[in-house]
């Protein structure tokens, strides 16, 4: 893994090519979501149910951190599917890297580092938009939220990169998006407290890393930190990163060795 920094120039060159598009979409998506759901749906909920329904906060304040966490997840999953498949199959750049002193662990580490950076940029823009809506309490809270976004993202990116390294075509991605990403997005607790759901589904949601991410993020932005719960969330997400790392590393090692 120690040679991974040698790949920095490669990723810088790649990022230079895509950064404009990234910034535009990472601004537009949260802007539209926060305007429609946070403000539009939010004022309807706040007027009819009253702030007490969400424990004394507006719907915008409730949904903001949830959307930030799910944005980290979505960015991570997208960046771990097509771009990784392309580097194995279409432009084969992983194979050209593997022909040099770089090892599979260098290649995985730098790929994940780049994904982490993409999450950082996307979520950074998201936080700026959130601030524009007046939904941020403190700047240090925003900084911690940004770090947590990267953690949430990597908890999803490492296993997804591992899965992609084992796939031989892109058709499975539709399944991943529809059966994995979509339900996780909807039942993450970003839009409503998952305790509203039948008990079985609530417990299923507790198992997903994104629920831990949403809950942790909400504690941070609302300042309602419960120490032991926060620690559990961080440990759970960290465990996903570590397990995902080994899954990705074994996938890359096998595929690059053929």
């Amino acid at each position: 893994m120690q040679l991974a920094p040698r790949l920095t120039d490669y990723w810088v060159t790649v990022f230079k090519r895509v950064w404009k598009g990234t910034v535009v979409t990472s601004f537009l998506t949260p802007f539209l979501f926060l305007a429609a759901m946070g403000v539009g749906l939010g004022s309807f909920i706040d007027d009819n149910a009253g702030p007490a329904a969400l424990g004394g906060i507006t719907y915008l304040a409730f949904i903001g951190p949830g959307l930030l966490a799910t944005t980290a997840m979505q960015t991570a999953i997208f960046e771990s599917t097509y771009p990784v498949m392309g580097a194995f199959k279409w432009h084969r750049s992983y194979f050209s890297m593997a022909a040099t002193p770089l090892t599979p662990s260098d290649i995985v580490a730098s790929q994940l580092g780049f994904i982490g950076f993409r999450i950082f940029v996307t979520c950074g823009v998201f936080l700026a938009v959130l601030a524009g809506f007046g939904a941020l309490e403190s700047w240090w809270g925003a900084l911690v939220a940004l770090a947590v976004s990267v953690l949430i993202g990597l908890a999803h990116a490492t296993p997804m990169v591992g899965l992609t390294s084992r796939m031989h075509n892109e058709f499975g991605f539709a399944l991943v998006f529809r059966l994995g990403l979509m339900p996780m997005f909807l039942f993450s607790g970003a839009f409503f407290p998952i305790t509203q759901l039948p008990t079985v589904i609530t417990w299923l949601a507790y198992l997903t890393p994104i629920w831990h991410g949403v809950d942790l993020m909400r504690m941070l932005t609302l300042g309602t930190i419960d120490g032991s719960a926060a620690l559990l969330h961080v440990v759970y997400l960290g465990a996903c990163v570590v397990a995902g790392w080994f899954y990705a590393l074994s996938g890359f090692t096998r595929r690059l060795a053929l």
Binding site: L3, R6, T13, S93, A98, A99, T100
Partner: protein
């Protein structure tokens, strides 16, 4: 170089009993190969002979299934990264990044070998000049022709000034002009003392570039030597090719088989192996046989391959 060296140049590749299996399929079935410094060494054989699998093992990417392999005196299983630092690899498919420019493709690659940004940029400029792509430095790779991409891939494999250059099917898919351009560059490298190892299924490429080669078929080595030695050993000096009407070749072979040391029947022609091709052609004519066309030529590695495997290289 004032260092004392033994009489033989050092061994760059040393393989014995080398095997590679993928599941139940055995691609390489126990080969012995030695390549010394400064040699141009070839693996000649048809598709599926096990050449590329061998190359990937030599490139210290694909693990050896059984047998022993040392590259630059090191063990690829434990010193893969150190070995790869001194290799240049030109893979069968171009693995260039299409969306990066010609210059970026090389400059970024140099960094993988631990070169500084400045060092890598200087080396890139030098190599683009060497492969005659300086004018295209800023172009996106996807705008290049097949021959240019291939030259760029060769240039990339030279970024780290390798001691050993591995070329897998370097000119497959190129037009004749592009092939000759690439051969010319490879000749220059050979003259500079770079050890070349290449695979090819073109016998003319092997004859042009290789000092020594092995002929591979179905995962085993069926012959080894210099192109000239192989021809002397496995073929006559000349070949007379006779073309008769469709379906007549088997019957005609019986009528001429005493005129040559050996006669091969191909679907579209007869090959008469003899040291005097002209005399054989005259003798055929004297028997009242009238082939649609006849041609006398020197024997090539293609004939060696046909002799050894009973099949032509193009199969």
């Amino acid at each position: 170089m004032s260092r004392l060296v033994s009489v033989d140049p050092p061994l760059m590749i040393e393989a014995s009993g080398l095997r590679k299996s993928y599941g139940d399929f055995e691609a390489v079935k126990g080969i012995d190969v030695e390549v010394r410094k400064g040699e141009a060494f070839g693996f000649l054989g048809p598709n599926g002979a096990g050449k590329s699998s061998t190359m990937r093992m030599v490139a210290a990417v694909s693990p050896v299934t059984t047998g022993s392999l040392r590259i630059l005196g090191m063990d690829p299983a434990t010193q893969g990264s150190q070995i790869r630092a001194r290799l240049g690899v030109c893979p069968q498919d171009d693995t260039l990044d299409n969306e990066l420019s010609v210059f970026e493709n090389l400059a970024v690659y140099g960094r993988y070998f631990g070169m500084s940004r400045r060092e890598s940029a200087a080396r890139t400029a030098e190599l683009l000049d060497f492969v005659q792509l300086t004018e295209r430095a800023k172009a996106k790779v996807e705008t290049l022709s097949g021959g240019m991409k291939r030259r760029l891939t060769v240039a990339r494999s030279l970024v780290n000034q390798p001691d050993l250059l591995l070329l897998d099917e370097p000119t497959t898919g190129l037009d004749p002009q592009a092939r000759h351009q690439l051969w010319d560059r490879l000749f220059r490298l050979k003259q500079q003392g770079v050890t070349l190892v290449l695979t090819t299924h073109y016998m003319d490429e092997a004859e042009q570039l290789c000092d020594r080669l092995v002929v591979m078929d179905k995962g085993v080595i069926v012959a080894k030597g210099s192109p000239a030695e192989l021809i002397v050993e496995h073929s006559t000096r000349e070949v007379t090719e006779l073309r008769f009407g469709v379906g007549e070749h088997e019957a005609m072979a019986a009528k001429v088989d005493d005129l040559a040391e050996r006669v091969e029947v191909l679907p579209d022609r007869l090959l008469l192996y003899t040291d005097d091709g002209e005399a054989a052609a005259v003798a055929v004519h004297d028997r009242g046989l009238r082939p649609l066309s006849s041609l006398v030529r020197r024997a090539t590695l293609e004939d060696v391959f046909l002799r050894l495997t009973g099949r032509s290289l193009a199969d």
